[in-house]
Amino acid sequence: MADLDLIDIEKHFGTNWVIRKLNLRISQGEFVVLLGPSGCGKTTTLRAIAGLEEIDSGEIRIDGKRVESLPPSERDIAFVFQLYSLYPHLTAFENIAFPLRALRISNREVREKVTSVAKVLRIEHLLNKRPSALAGGDMQRVTIGRALVRRPKAILMDEPIGALDAKLREEMRVELRRLHIENKSTTIYVTHDQVEAMSMGDRIAIMNEGVLQQVGSPTEVYSWPANLFVAQFVGSPIMNVQNCQLEASDGMTKVRLDGMETPFQFGGELYGRVAAAGHVDIALGVRPEAILVELAQRPAYVPGEVRIIEPQGAYDILDIRIGQAVVRARTRSRFVTRLQEPVWVQLDEARTHFFDKKSGLALTSQK
């Protein structure tokens, strides 16, 4: 397994930029997720690393060695596609052994290597079956087994579990992560699903329109998003983003959403950091769990009205109208049971974000 360096990678089709000045270092044994909406450049990046796509400029280094001009077969990288792409006429064993057959190694050695991979993947009992007799998750494991058996320098995966149903996906997330922990294979994983990214990656690299937006651990990108795009792409339900006006008063900062009479009270430091620094159009961002809801009035809480209750089973999401704004808050299940119920709301200051609306950049002091 190896380090991987992407340095100033650029790629365009005609006047369309697919990747712009991408810089990313992936350390040996790391699991990095490329996350973004369709068309953000994540799959093109992955294909460029594999050698399936040429880049216009920049360097790709594997263990310090430049590989841009090497064909895919000489890069020693394994690629797992979304489709199962197994040979239907071969058994699971032969499918996994396939990449070894070209290496002219002894049958005994092939058997050893396949069995050891199968053991890790817990598919030893399925080795004699053909793909058509396997369940979706098992097929995926065979596909991954085929990638692992050569002990490649890195494994690249492109939405490998996107086609599975929700429950199986939940299981496969745990298994893929576990597999990584046991194998320590350098892994780059492409997905548009933020839940997959959050739950599997050591680090997440979020892309949009060919531009890398932020790289960080799941906690970092969730708790300290660098900009509005990341803030709203990561997390579900999505982060509330609202226009807001700030006003300094008595050493405090008054924060108003549109149409709000009683303001939220924040520390005085906020005004200096945000409004006094010349930012005019400011957006407030707050995740549903950082909105505190009470049924009775409390100091520093502002009135709101429950518009919709969305039960999620383990908890509820409430749509609460505050002034002209509607925000979504997370409460325990059945905390509010009637629509139009008046509630009292406060924002957890430590988990409230401010963004410059023009640039989209976070104006937060943390980190």
Partner: protein, 363 residues
């Protein structure tokens, strides 16, 4: 708006039974969700209600009318599909006007404009009225498709996975918009989906279907907290409920002797004694949010995997040869392979019959 009643609806395609003896009462002004996996019979049921499919037997009542023999057009129901099915060369306005100009309705010309504008307003597409529909984004197109259903002011709305083609973020937005709109209009709405989150968040009640059979009807709370059987228990809720087979042995439940034994609290033992009726074997269900970490006296396991979801951590803990999912605060930090001890909130344990899979409390 009308109520809808299905009585013993049956529909087969050749040897395949798509809908088996479906009986349902959907109230006026209700948001009713038909939830189930692929092949559960939910779309076939919806198509029977719409008049696009003829049931083999059974009755369909819309309001006071038995509509089995009525054509789709005469039933006065509006359908919204996953595909937008808009006229691409027409403006949004033309698309919205279209159903009102149908010969069946013969609405006077001067009533058409206000109705279209009202619907556009409600869906926040008023600014798009003069744009061609092929110039719209996916979310806007789906809003127009819903608008086309609204302008008709039908007796019933039928929607078949209308949100599954839009991206996750927009889907979330459209979910609460659609629910808000339905509440505002007081519309009777039957909504088909395979996505349990959609069902839970939007429905007044949910009907869970599997293999053509209606398994349970209830509010989201009922379906989640009192599932009728293990199918409903594991289909609804994410991460999925933990299920394992156990044998009742005095004051403990034995899953794997020595390794996975659950000491029962007095109240739980009393509850279990009431429902097992002399049975020894039960299937135990516990939702991930009811699994806690304890410092001693718990069930010993090791941490198999940890998922950081930002808002919370989801741990997979291996106990004997079982994997138990636990939802814990976001601040939980435990290294993989570390020993842990867990305890279940026993008031929230579910017990199922291992043979019939039925919830032993509900029966």
């Amino acid at each position: 708006m009308a109520n809808l009643t299905l009585k013993n609806l049956c529909k087969s395609f050749g040897d395949v039974v798509a809908v088996r003896n479906l009986s349902l009462n959907i109230h006026e002004g209700e948001f009713f969700v038909l939830l189930g996996p692929t092949g559960a019979g939910k779309t076939t049921s919806l198509r029977c209600i719409a008049g696009l499919e003829k049931p083999d037997s059974g009755e369909i009542w819309i309001g006071e009318n038995l509509v089995n023999e009525w054509s789709a057009a005469n039933r006065d129901v509006a359908l919204v599909f996953q595909q937008y099915s808009l006229y691409p060369n027409y403006t949004v306005r033309k698309n919205l006007e279209f159903p009102l100009r149908s010969r069946l309705r013969r609405l006077p010309g001067k009533e058409i404009g206000p109705r279209v504008e009202k619907a556009a307003e409600a869906l926040r597409i008023a600014h798009l009225l003069d744009r061609r529909t092929d110039k719209l984004s996916g979310g806007e197109m789906q809003r127009v498709a819903i608008g086309r259903a609204i302008v008709r002011e039908p007796r019933l709305f039928l929607m078949d996975e209308p949100l599954s083609n839009v991206d996750a973020k927009l889907r979330e937005l459209l979910r609460s918009e659609l629910r808000g709109l339905q509440l505002k209009l007081g519309a009777t709405l039957v909504f088909v989906t395979h996505d349990q989150v959609e069902a839970m968040t939007m429905g007044d009640r949910i009907g869970v279907l599997n293999h053509g059979e209606l398994i349970q009807v209830g509010t989201p709370y009922e379906v989640y907290n009192s599932p009728q059987n293990t199918f409903v228990a594991s289909f609804v809720g994410a991460p999925a409920i933990n299920l394992f087979d156990a044998t009742l042995d005095g004051d403990k439940l034995v899953v794997t002797p020595q390794k996975f034994e659950l000491g029962l609290e007095a109240a739980t033992r009393a509850r279990l004694n009431q429902i097992v009726c002399g049975r020894k074997n039960v299937r135990v269900g516990v939702r991930p949010e009811h699994v806690n970490l304890v410092s001693n006296g718990g069930l010993a396991g090791t941490l198999y995997g940890a998922e950081d979801h930002g808002v919370e951590m989801i741990l997979s803990i291996s106990v004997a040869d079982h994997l138990i999912r636990a939802t814990l605060p976001a601040t939980t930090r435990i290294p993989v392979n570390a020993p842990v001890q867990i305890a279940f909130a026993q008031d929230n344990l579910h017990f199922f019959d291992p043979q019939t899979t039925k919830n032993l409390v509900a029966t």
